[in-house]
Amino acid sequence: MARKDPGPQVDRRKFLTGVAAAGAATAAATMSTPVARAAEPAPAPRVPSALRPTLQVAAAETETPRETTNRIGGRPGSDFMVDVVKTLGIKYLPANCASSYRGIHESLINYGGNKMPEFLTCMHEESAVGMAHGYFKIAGKPLMTLCHGTVGLQHATMAIYNAWCDRVPVIVVGGNDMDAATRPPGVPTFHAAQDINALVRDFTKWDDTPVSLAHFAQSFVRAYKIAMTPPCGPVMISLDAGLQQEVIRNHGDKLAIPRYVPTAPPQGDSGAVKEAARLLAEAQNPVIVADRAARTPNGIKLLVQLAETLQARVIDQGSRVNFPKTHYLSAPPTAVSGADVILGLELSDFWATVNSYTDNGENGGIGANGTRIKPGTKLISISSVELNTKSNYQDFQRFQVIDVPMAGDAEATLPALIEAVKAAIPGSKKGAIEQRGQAAKKAHAEAEARTKQAAALAWDASPISTARLCAETYAAVKDLDWSIVSQSGNVSNWLNRLWPLSEHHHWIGRSGGYGVGYGAPASVGAALANRDAGRFSVNIQADGDLMYAPGVLWTAAKHKIPQLAVMHNNRGYHQEVMHVQRLSNFRNRPANYGPDMGPVGTRIENPDIEYHKLAESMGWWAKGPIKDPAQLGSALKEAVKVVQAGQPALLNVWTQPR
């Protein structure tokens, strides 16, 4: 990094020149006899040593202030960086270690005492970001991660993309040794780039490359603030290795750290809120659809209030727990078909909410589109994402015309909308609204009975049905303060259909970008937040998902993050099993299964992975494979006890495909 002003005090370069001169004379002796250094007169420039002094040696040598006697001749810049980080109350720092950030790494654990944030040893950068993602969904607070700005960031990218699509803040800091003239040759140069942030610029909200410590302070606080302002999202800071390692030169001014003041989230325009309220109040059958509406537990309360005011059914698309599944107004996705007004709250895909797509190979192979709503249905949208779109990645989905579109945060807009709806409901409508509620109650009760009857199918089958897997697991934890820390588990939605999801922490929702490999690390991050809150974490863990980076199991054991992982081991990348089967059928060719149960390249069998052994080898309590449903209940009981005692536990359960 080109720092413009070398500063008035001991300059690293001059200092090093002195070291080099002294070193040239005595190199041979000092390399082989480092202990002799203790006899040298202080405070002359130190002679280079093959060994770094330990803290104790350094302290024994030091009678005078540390700034002038340590090797670098002052306080390292990364100490100040830690001061900045500490102002933001970031509790954990999951990361995989790398030399491009060794400066701040050392400061964090030695100067910063490894607290706020506490370093969590991760075995893959994707795991680190996935953990931060899952943590936020329970704690509502962001974590930061550090990585090699090139190779580490390349590993981290998919997880950053998921966080972007899921509107989750993560502060990613990549080490990068920018000064080509001074950085070490070889590996550190391979691991440097002009602009590491370019790699993730398309799916981060903001990025910066601070060139001074004062700049770092502003960048970091700004990054935190931008990440946390709805729509939330990941941010990226490129952290120069030189800046971390050089001494603080403050030119007599105290380095300032800006105070973090959260930005109030944007609300929908008041005129549009009024128009939306009028449409909803006068509707025959208004339906509410929510995806990321409840950013906080209060969002659920507000949505219940709005739904009850209108007696409108609510479809929860489930990127968060938006609405209690137990509420009689909770409705399935098909409920849009009878609506005359639909209110979409933070939907990631409004088009697919009101249209259908059938992957049937028709129309030259592209499939068939259809509408799922009546003609003339009025559409209202409140979405903060309209304020933050980018061009490259297509997470904005297909274009949908909306009658009343609002750029604003749904949760922040709901109070005004509720008041406006109350004011807009004509007295003559009250009876009809009440009747709507009665019909919804009946529909909800009937749906519940149908769901349970469907769950009873294949109840005794082996491998174990996904409905039974979820029902057994619920029975094992229902009296605890539970939280589901898996994305969906790919278990035919049985978690959502059978568990009484009603609180914000009851489920972390989906990954956002459907980048597989999110499930395991997100579960560990969410379990960490639950551990601190005294809750019990349950993870229905898909097999394929786990194997992208199973080292996160070790991180959980290492840092004593308990969770009950119940594997949905369908012995395959089942989604892809079906895709290749589908295409084989369309093309009228028998699918080539090779020696397996499904198309070549999609199955995880021959040999079977012994997940229980994998977990056990990394410090988990584990059992399996469990194939007989009659054995599941007792194994779950055992595992729950282990988790309650603070150890993560995994059951390797062989399951039906979905």
């Binding site: 049937n360 009857q453 009873a456 199918l457 029975a475 939605n493």
Partner: protein, 110 residues
């Protein structure tokens, strides 16, 4: 109209196979042709496909559906799945036990 004609053609062609269903062979065919992928090993269904058992639709209807569907299920033509295999699959589906009443399962009534 076009669909009805097609359906009739299929029904005509498959008469010979109709009687030959073997549940045991059907179990194998059900696995080998990937029906389990979307409908479950016990035909219980899930988010990826509806339940097929117990009480499967009549064989004629099943044949017509599997050959000609233009919905969310990819059709199986004769080139990849014979009428005889489908008749066996039907026999297998018919052999699957009735579902238990959910009210009799304590875990489904927590």
């Amino acid at each position: 109209m076009k669909r009805a004609v097609l359906l009739l053609a299929v029904l005509g062609a498959s008469q010979a196979a109709l009687a030959a269903g073997s549940a045991e062979k059907g179990k194998t065919a059900y696995a080998q042709h990937g029906c389990w992928q979307c409908h479950g090993f016990a035909g219980q269904g899930g988010i990826t496909g509806p339940k097929l058992a117990p009480d499967p639709m009549p064989l004629e209807a099943l044949l017509a559906f599997v050959r000609n569907t233009r919905g969310a299920m990819p059709p199986y033509q004769k080139a990849i799945l014979s009428d005889a295999d489908l008749a066996d699959i039907h026999a297998y589906l018919q052999s699957l036990p009735k579902a238990r009443d959910y009210k009799s399962i304590p875990l489904l009534n927590p």
